[in-house]
Subunit: 174 residues, 2 copies
Amino acid sequence: MPVSGKLEFPMSKFEHIRHKPPSVASVQRELLVVLAPMRSNVNLSRIVRLVGCAGFTKLIQCGPGRVDREIARDAIDVVEIVQRRSFAPVLEQLADDGYVRVGLEQTTNSFCLFEYSFPLKTALVIGAEREGLSQSELDRLDAVVEIPVYGQPYSYNVATATTMAVYEYCRQHH
Amino acid sequence: MPVSGKLEFPMSKFEHIRHKPPSVASVQRELLVVLAPMRSNVNLSRIVRLVGCAGFTKLIQCGPGRVDREIARDAIDVVEIVQRRSFAPVLEQLADDGYVRVGLEQTTNSFCLFEYSFPLKTALVIGAEREGLSQSELDRLDAVVEIPVYGQPYSYNVATATTMAVYEYCRQHH
């Protein structure tokens, strides 16, 4: 109850909510991020944090690479990082396991990320920083999505592009 | 024309398109990213690259901070970085200039980023890495958007969160 005679300050409209519990998706989401050998452990670690925050518990990383706890934060403890030596057998296995393999690349016959409907069971296949996905990797994909670039440089950083695709998947399935 | 008697190899469905020219948005987009003093020049530089790729030509950065060309790439040459000492007068001026000031934060009365319709003329206001936006900054906003987190850690990295919001704006206005 306000005390008479004292000034009342209006409540702020926006007040911080700290340590908010995570949201729960209303559908069983199965997004599996599959990474080519990243050149940069920073990009790898950023993607691990992204995957953890977005509520996924597994990631496939082809090739070497060390996750930096300073960057990945708690995600390093909740995301299982499955390490594989070569990419092609992984892509074959994903198909056998019922995943639709969706690459993130600028190619012919790609879908714009704004318009692509992600299947619930998606393997999001990410190429390395400079080379992107090779032709033999592209040949093993079911679809390619592309993010429109409107300025310079002509491509997003690999972790930034992965962020957009993971966001779009979560937006479609939340 | 195929040469008779020679094996024909089927075209690959997905072929790399290198050096693809940027897309052109069909509307006049006015997204202005406004940054609190970032703790990390890496995050600052990543956001500069994001802004450049997304086709915006200006960014407001409060406080010190040096953009790293290795990270920001060509964006350092195409994005004008307006440096300001204090945040509050910037937020006041943005309102005078007709921007809707939209903060990215976990607060009461926030919109979910999935559901918020960005005005064309949006100032996207981003807090620093640990503190986020202060109460006096929140009090100068017209809206707050929030990105659902589904796992751990409980918040996205600041550049990752900014990426999602810029992506969502571009998706709505492309």
